[in-house]
């Protein structure tokens, strides 16, 4: 058994382990991993997501258990400080010693902090680790408490600097980017594309300062500004330094390995350092006189090192490394591939620029016009994957190369993704070829996209190739004659959205009509409630019209509970109720001996009602001014609210009044799943509105509208749809958003999951709901208004109709009740006896 010690548990160090353990020969080796940070390796590429959810776990490459399961000793929070190459022993900062047969240095890099006077002041941060981010967050919170308009600067306008700029903006600080060069992203972009990017970033609120050399950081203990020239000062209270990286090569220096002039541990194409038992991979390795600061080459290096150690010595690092990148910076697509800047002597450039749309595309074509050499895309990188493939595989290009980047022509210039050669590398992070992706479907090992992704790992790292992987899987399935779509059940060969369209177009109104005209068989518990829900969303008919196709809760207009009894929830809009109302509810609860509880949605729930009693209970509620709360429906539940400005000394607007208005507007609205709302009177957010399907928060100058939030099994914060809008606009946008969701979501899909699945996410939703990119908002509003106007209390319908009342008899041939029910006492109330099996 030989021991491999991996120093560094970052993305590349982790990838080494991952690639190692799947090798059959890995049994002959023991791996010990040292990480200096207090947690297992995480995804640094997506570090800025930490600001959205502050969930370090979500960024983990693999949980700590993964290492255990794969027999890897993971030692975190312990830095390796020395290597004794003669005795093959390493020493850690805790003075422990471990011997190795092979040593893999994956120590990565650290942020480069230029030697500027005052850089040590409080409030100056680097942007590298989760701990850095936590430090920034708490500092920003302190600043904002003192001054809500506090400003922060980022030193460095490169890729990471702009990411940091977004982070600063998300923290609610006024963001400033300070760059030494005369353009943003100087390494990836030419001047024209850089100025397009700059325009776009400025339009979303970033302040950009170019050609600025920082002389010193001002302030006594904490930073209060940056000085560039004598009279050139920028007042900022926080600074994030993102001026490049430096390899963490201390171990190489102290142990006498061959080093680069400006740092980095020199490696050959086997990833070996000058000591053949020591390998270096990732951002600490100097290969071709270069440090490669991208994750894809780092992963390739990990793969080479794994193969070299295991004995597959023919696996070498290629001499030319593809530095193409595509990323989304603050919501803006930026990509460059091949040779982005090209001297005129080598070829011609074709440039498309549209500053009004913040678009820039450039491709570089060989002098003979036959091959693609590289290019730059800003604003819209949807063609990146295909262009990159054309470049990598030397595929022929159209005679008029401009077709490759001009706004889409009929059929597109590319043709199908299936035209790519099998060896085309689709996922460069995980090194997955087109042949592997299509092969997994063709040989039957996988049936769908999820299967292919889990088998090949394609698109699991940066995710940039996901659209292409999806295309390949779908095209391959199609070529095999397999259908790709999600059908409802064996009775309908359609998705919910398709069936919705058919029912609407054909104006079908009964379940049997739908089944006869576009389904087969006799229906089931999946398609019946689904069709009923579509009817309700289209015509706002209540479940009383066709009760036999309703789910049990809708059929009996109450929630079935554990023992087959029901719970009853009257609407208490916005959670506002008079003392008299409470007394009425109390009396009804006592009369029918119901277990009574206040729900999470701030209303009152009565449990243990027998079927026979439901109409009588409803009648008493209705006689006293109550109505159905639709707690049983896939429909609007509650719009929760805090008390708002009518009473609260902090409140900015009347959250209760608005919550009541919204709850009454959307009550009874049937949808693919339940809908919850919240309205908070200020940013303290006591109504927890951002955990709801729609959340509205009062701010200076109006309401902020958030959508797609969720509590439940996968909690999700709602995302900002529009800012500082008035009541009328909130309702207008909500009408459109809810109706669009109702029409397009899959069955039983909450808004959070729907928004996740929506191609383009929140930005696309903004386009549809606010900019009317699909020209449908007028219809959506009309349809919603129709539903609002058609509202009727279904409890009232049920008790007024003698025929309907028959539904609530337990026995057809007797007035008896179900005598099988047994209740036991619980804290002065009752509960059903426990299930026995």
């Amino acid at each position: 058994m030989k021991t491999i010690i991996v120093v560094g548990n970052g993305m590349v160090g982790y990838k080494f382990c991952e690639k190692f353990v799947v090798q059959s020969k890995s049994k002959d080796f023991k791996i010990v991993v040292f990480g200096e940070e207090p947690r297992p390796a995480y995804d640094r590429v997506h570090l800025s997501e930490f600001f959205e959810n502050q969930d370090a776990k979500a960024l983990e490459m693999a949980p700590a258990e993964w290492y255990k399961e794969n027999n890897i000793d993971l030692i975190v929070d312990e830095r390796v400080s020395e290597i004794n190459r003669k005795s093959k022993v390493i020493t850690t900062a805790k003075d422990r010693e471990f011997s190795y047969d092979y040593l893999v240095l994956a120590t990565g890099s650290s942020a480069f902090v230029p030697p500027i006077k005052g850089v040590e002041k409080e409030g100056v941060f680097v942007y590298r680790t989760i701990e850095d981010l936590e430090g920034m967050l708490s500092y920003a919170a302190k600043l904002k408490a003192k001054n809500p308009n506090a400003r922060a600067a980022v030193l460095g306008g490169g890729l990471l600097g702009l990411e940091a700029g977004k982070a600063v903006m998300d923290m609610g600080l006024e963001p400033h980017i300070v760059e030494f060069a005369s353009k943003l992203m100087p390494r990836q972009l030419d001047s024209r594309s850089s100025s397009v990017l700059q325009l776009k970033l400025e339009s979303i609120g970033l302040n950009i300062h170019l050609n600025k050399a920082t002389n010193q950081i001002l302030g006594d203990d904490s930073i209060i500004g940056m000085e560039f020239g004598e009279d050139d000062i920028l007042d900022v209270e926080m600074l994030v330094v993102s001026a490049g990286i430096r390899p963490r090569d201390e171990l190489g220096k102290v142990s006498g390995l061959e080093m680069g002039v400006r740092g980095g541990i020199v490696v050959n194409n086997k990833m070996q350092t000058s000591d053949p038992t020591i390998f270096a991979i990732g951002e600490v390795a100097l290969y071709n006189q270069m440090i490669y600061g991208l994750v894809a080459p780092g992963y390739d290096m990990a793969d080479v090192a794994v193969n070299q150690i295991i004995g597959n010595t023919e696996k070498l690092m290629p001499a030319e490394i593809d530095m193409s990148t595509k990323l989304k910076l603050i919501g803006v697509d930026v990509a460059s591939f091949g040779e982005p800047f090209m001297p005129a002597s080598k070829g011609h450039s074709v440039i498309f620029e549209n500053k009004t749309q913040h678009l820039y595309k450039r491709i570089n074509v060989s002098l003979d016009g036959k091959s693609l050499l590289g290019g730059i895309l800003v604003g819209d990188a949807s063609d990146y994957n295909m262009l990159h493939q054309v470049f990598l595989n030397g595929m022929p290009i159209p005679e008029d190369a401009a077709q490759l980047i001009l706004p889409a022509t009929e059929g597109g210039a590319f043709g199908s993704a299936l035209d790519l050669p099998d060896e085309a590398q689709i996922c460069s992070c995980e090194n997955v070829s087109k042949g592997q992706i299509c092969g997994a479907i063709k040989d039957g090992s996988c049936e769908d996209l999820a299967g292919v992704i889990s088998l090949t790992k394609a698109s699991t790292s940066c995710g940039g190739c996901k659209p292409m992987v999806t295309d390949l899987v779908n095209e391959t399935l199609k070529s095999l004659g397999k259908t790709v779509k999600n059908v409802i059940c064996e009775h309908f060969d359609y998705s919910r959205q398709e069936l919705y369209g058919i029912i609407k177009a054909k104006k079908l109104t009964s379940y049997n009509e739908v089944l006869d005209s576009c389904g087969s068989g006799h229906g089931c518990e999946t398609c019946k409630p689904l069709v009923s829900s579509i009817f309700a969303s289209l015509y706002n008919v209540t479940p009383n019209k066709e009760d036999v196709t309703q789910d049990t809760n809708d059929k009996f207009l109450a929630n079935i509970q554990r023992n087959g009894t029901y719970s009853v929830v009257p609407r208490i809009a916005g959670g506002e109720i008079t003392p008299e109302g409470l007394i009425v509810l109390g009396k009804i609860g006592a009369k029918y001996n119901l277990y009574t509880k206040i729900t999470g949605g701030a209303r009152i729930d009565f449990f243990g009602a027998q079927l026979n009693d439901l109409p009588a209970i409803w009648k008493e509620l209705i006689d006293n001014g109550f109505e159905s709360g639709h707690a049983y429906g896939k429909s609007l539940r509650t719009v929760k609210s805090c008390v708002g400005s009518t009473w609260c000394r902090y409140g900015l607007d009347e959250s209760v009044s608005f919550a009541i208005e919204l709850e009454n507007r959307y009550k009874g609205l049937r949808s693919p799943h339940k809908i919850k709302g919240g309205v908070s009177g200020c940013i303290r957010e006591c109504a927890e509105a951002r955990g709801k399907d729609f959340g509205i928060i009062a701010v200076e100058g109006g309401w902020n509208l958030y959508v797609g939030g969720n509590g439940g099994a996968t909690p999700r914060h709602a995302q900002l749809l529009a800012e500082q809008i008035d009541n009328e606009t909130v309702i207008k946008y909500l009408d459109r958003y809810l109706m669009y969701y109702i029409q397009t979501a899959a069955p039983l899909m909450r808004t959070a999951a729907w928004l996740d699945k929506l191609e383009g996410g929140i930005e696309q939703l903004k386009k549809v709901v606010i900019d009317d990119s699909l020209s449908i908002v007028e219809d959506l509003e009309k349809e919603m208004q129709f539903l609002v106007d058609a509202y009727e209390c279904e409890w009232k319908q049920a008790i007024e109709n003698e025929e309907t009342k028959k539904r609530f008899q337990h026995f057809v041939n007797s007035d008896d009740r179900d005598d099988n029910l047994v209740f036991v006492p619980l804290r002065d109330q009752k509960m059903p006896e426990h299930w026995k099996n």
Partner: protein
């Protein structure tokens, strides 16, 4: 609990000694179900009018022993008529009583006949 289940035994049409009148056809919702009481037993009766068939079975779902099957939804599984329990959507064949989406015990089924717009359920005793 087994004492509840032991009351319900699948009855073949040849073993019927009593045809119990459960009610008029109009007492049962089309494509829906109702529960009847016979000698302390609860029997679910289904009017599967889409296929012009009638079915009867025990009202108790063998999963959690609650008297709820008559409130379940009708449908078919590749042509086999079935009912889905309203509590956890366990589905049972209305022809054989077999649990179609799990390995619960089969439910007891009973023959149904319609005479002069009345619904009769067949019992052995």
């Amino acid at each position: 609990m087994n004492t509840i289940l032991s009351q319900y035994k699948t009855t073949a049409i040849n073993d019927v000694n009593v045809w119990f009148k459960a009610g008029a056809v109009s007492d049962f919702f089309e494509n829906g179900g109702g529960c009847i009481k016979y000698k302390g037993k609860q029997i679910a009766v289904f009017n599967f009018s889409r296929t012009k068939q009638w079915f009867a079975c025990q009202n108790v779902c063998p999963h959690k022993m609650e008297m709820v099957l008559s409130r379940g939804m009708l449908g078919d599984d590749k042509g086999v008529p079935k009912v889905a329990c309203p509590l956890h959507k366990k589905t049972f064949s209305l022809e054989t009583g077999e649990n179609l989406n799990g390995d619960l015990d089969a439910i007891a089924t009973y023959p149904v006949k319609i005479e002069a717009e009345n619904v009769y359920i067949g019992f052995s005793e």
